[in-house]
Point group: none
Chain length 401, copies 2
C-alpha cells in the first residue's frame, strides 16, 4: 500500500497510539521441544492485551531475510524498507545522535592498517579501543577544506563518521574501501557530474588524514563508504496526521526516528525512565514509539534466561502505560534475536494489537505459537501494522464510496 | 496477479459459478467476549457449505482500510481496486441506474445555499427533501448547450447527477466545490488542453443554472465534482471467459456490475425475488453475482439482532440456490459493517468457497473465528477469490509447462 493512499484517508482525531518495540523480541526454544523466551516469560499484562486484542507474526523485509534494526524499524513505522533505504553514512550518524542537516554528506569511516607499500593489511586496524578512535577523530577534525565544515566523530573501536557540511554537496561518490586486504584504499570518484567538487574535497581530506595518521600504527590509514545525504522522506506527521514522538535510549533508534520526522524525547537510561517520559509528555503527542533495547542485547549474548527476565521487566511496567488509556497499542519487536542463535534472525516477529474494536481471535496469551492462529495471521507484512493501529484508533476514513 | 495473466489460462467450460455477497457481512461481538452477528446466526446451510468447502477472511483494499462498496465489489470481481478506480460521477450515475455511454462525462452535483455575496453558507442546501431535488433537476434539464445532450437527475436530498453527452468531451476538469463554507463556487478549469471545450460547456451550464436556482432558496446554487467518464476496462467476459449476470436490487451495485460488463438482471424487491431471477435465468449465464443488501443496512443501523435475522433469511433460501447445482460457490461480504460500529470497517471479511474439489480444512461452521483457521487464511486479498472460484469450477488451465 502506498503511503500516499493511506495519507488521503487520514481524518482528524484526538486519539492516542502507542508502538512499544521490544528489540529482537522473537525467539526460539533453548532446546528441542521447549518454549521460546517470550513463551517462557511470565507476562500477565501482555497476555491480557493479547486476550482482548488480536495477535500474529510479522515479516519486516521478506521471507528468510534477517532484518537490520534500521529497515525493521522503518517497516514498523509503516515505510516499505525496500523502497525507503537508509544510506550507511546516515545510519551511522544517527547511531551517534549526530543530527544531520539537508546540507550534509555523511560517510561511514573505518580506521585501517596499511603496510609500507600502502596496501591494507588489516581493514579494522586491530580493532583499536574506542578511546584511541576518539583521539584520532579529534586529530582529524581540524583538517581544513575550502568552503565546507567538517565533522569527524568516533563511533566504536575502529569505526567513525565523517560529515561534510556545505552548499551543493553530492553523495554520488564511490567508496574508498577495497573490501579486501592486500589492496590500496581507492580514490573517491564522482558518480555524477555534479559530484566532482565533493569528490575532490573528500580526496583532499583523505590525503591530509593519511599524513596525520602515518605515525599512529595500527590505525595509520582510513577508508570511507556509504556516502549519503539525509533522505527527503515524507514525515509520519505528513503521512499519518500524527504528532509523533520517539522515546529511545540507544542512538540508532533515535536516528531512525528522526528520519521519519519524530520528535526525539529524552529516554533516560532505563525502561522506567522511558515510561516516566511517556507519562510526562502524554498530552503533547498523538503517537509514541517506545523502544526497549535489552531483549535484543541479551539475545545477542545468547543468554536465554536474561532475555526472559527483560520481557518480564517490560510486562511489569506495562500497567503504567495502560493507565494512560491509549486508544490503540501495538507491542512487538523489530525482528527476532533468538538467544539460541546470538544474532538477528529471519523468524517472523510476534505482535499484538489492542484496541476496544478488535474482533476476538481466540489467542489468550502472547507467544510465538499462540500468535500463529491470531487474526493478524502468521506472516503479515510489518508495514501493515501502522495502518491497522490508526484504523483501530478511528483515524482512517473509508476508501471510496 | 494481473488480469491478463489469468485471462491466458481460461479454458472453455460449461460449469457455473455463483458469487453470493451479503453486503457488510463481517461483524463484531455486541459485547466483550460475545459472538459476532454471523457467529450468532443459525445458519445450517452455510455451515454445511463451510464444512464441505474452505473458509477464510479477505482484505478488500489493504490493512486497516475500511472499503467503500464500489471498490470492494471490484475486488470481489477480481479487479484490483487501487488500480481500477471509479470516478465519483460515474459511481453516482451507476447509483441511480443511469446507463452511461462512452460519449458521456458524469459529475456528482450538490445543491447548496449561497448568500447575497455568492458565498456558500450551506454546502448541502439544508438537506432539501428528495422531491424538491427532483423538481429542481427537472427545471435544469432543459438548459440548452451547443452540440451536447444534457441529463440532470436527482439522487437523494441535495445530491444529483449531471451528465453531458456528445463527441470529444473530456473529464479532465477541476471541481467547482470549494469544500468549505464562506467561499464562492469555483469555475471549472480544463486540466488538459483537449478539455477546454468541455470546461466552457460546464461553466455555461453552471451560469444558466445559477440564474434558474436563484429563486429556490435554500437550494439557490450548485457545485459539481468527480467529473469522470465510463472507464474503458476489460469486461469479466473478456478476462474470465464467462457470460456474467448481476442480480442486485440497489442501483449502486447494478452500476458497478455494468462497469465490468455484466448483464444486469431484474432484482425485484426481496432476496426471494433475486433467487427467482437466478432460477429463471440459470441457463443463460456462466457466472451470477447475487447481491443481498440488508446485512449492511442493519449493520449501519446498529441493529445486531436484525442483522442476525438477515443472515438467517439468506441461509433459509440457500437451498433453492443449491438445488441448481452450481459448480463453485463463494459466499461472503464486500466488507464488514459491525452493528457495534454502525459503519463500514477495516475488519477482514469472512468468506467460504465451496466446490467438490475443496481440500478439507477442518472449518465446520461459517463464522469469523472459525474462518481464521481455514484454508483461505486469515488475510487473503479479495481479488484472489475469483480465480479460486474459476479454478474450482475447472475453468483455468495450468501456468507454464
Amino acid at each position: 500500500m502506498e503511503l500516499s493512499t493511506i495519507s488521503e484517508l487520514v481524518i482528524p482525531s484526538d486519539t492516542k497510539v502507542v508502538l512499544l518495540v521490544m528489540d529482537g523480541l522473537g525467539g526460539l526454544p533453548a532446546e528441542s521441544g521447549g518454549l521460546t523466551e517470550l513463551e517462557t516469560a511470565r507476562t500477565p499484562n501482555l497476555d491480557r492485551l493479547a486476550d482482548e486484542g488480536i495477535c500474529g507474526l510479522h515479516v519486516p523485509i521478506g521471507p528468510g531475510i534477517a532484518p537490520g534494526s534500521g529497515p525493521a524499524h522503518l517497516a514498523l513505522f509503516g515505510y516499505d524498507p525496500l523502497r525507503y533505504q537508509i544510506g550507511r553514512g546516515v545510519l551511522e550518524a544517527g547511531g551517534i545522535d549526530f543530527a544531520l542537516t539537508s546540507r550534509d554528506v555523511a560517510a561511514r569511516g573505518n580506521f585501517c592498517t596499511v603496510d609500507a607499500q600502502g596496501l591494507i593489511s588489516d581493514r579494522r586496524a586491530g580493532r583499536i579501543p574506542t578511546e584511541i578512535c576518539a583521539e584520532l577523530t579529534r586529530e582529524l577534525s581540524d583538517i581544513a577544506l575550502p568552503g565546507v565544515e567538517l565533522f569527524v566523530r568516533p563511533v566504536k573501536e575502529y569505526r567513525f563518521v565523517l560529515v561534510l557540511r556545505g552548499e551543493g554537496l553530492s553523495d554520488a561518490l564511490s567508496e574508498t574501501d577495497p573490501q579486501r586486504v592486500g589492496a590500496a584504499p581507492l580514490p573517491v570518484r564522482a558518480l555524477a557530474p555534479d559530484a566532482e567538487r565533493t569528490a575532490a574535497l573528500v580526496n583532499q581530506f583523505v590525503a591530509e588524514a593519511a599524513q596525520r595518521l602515518a605515525k599512529h600504527h595500527p590505525a595509520n590509514m582510513l577508508t570511507l563508504r556509504g556516502f549519503s545525504k539525509k533522505p527527503d522522506w515524507p514525515s509520519m506527521q505528513d503521512v499519518f496526521g500524527l504528532r509523533t514522538a520517539a522515546i529511545a535510549i540507544y542512538p540508532m533508534y533515535r536516528g531512525v526516528s528522526r528520519l521519519v520526522g519524530m520528535e526525539v524525547l529524552s529516554g533516560g537510561t532505563t525502561f522506567a525512565d522511558e515510561i516516566d517520559t511517556l507519562v510526562a509528555r502524554w498530552n503533547d503527542f498523538d503517537f509514541f514509539f517506545i523502544h526497549y533495547k535489552w531483549t535484543d542485547s541479551r539475545g545477542e549474548d545468547g543468554d536465554f534466561a536474561a532475555k526472559v527476565k527483560c520481557i518480564e521487566e517490560v510486562d511489569a511496567l506495562l500497567p503504567r502505560l495502560l493507565a494512560l488509556h491509549p486508544d490503540s497499542i501495538i507491542v512487538t519487536g523489530d525482528h527476532s534475536t533468538p538467544a539460541a542463535m546470538k544474532a538477528h534472525s529471519w523468524h517472523p516477529v510476534p505482535a499484538l494489537l489492542w484496541s476496544n474494536r478488535c474482533r476476538p481471535d481466540g489467542v489468550r496469551a502472547f507467544g510465538e505459537r499462540a500468535c500463529l492462529t491470531g487474526a493478524l495471521g502468521p506472516r503479515i507484512e510489518t508495514t501493515a501494522l501502522m495502518p491497522l493501529a490508526l484504523a483501530n484508533a478511528g483515524r482512517l476514513t473509508k476508501y471510496g464510496a
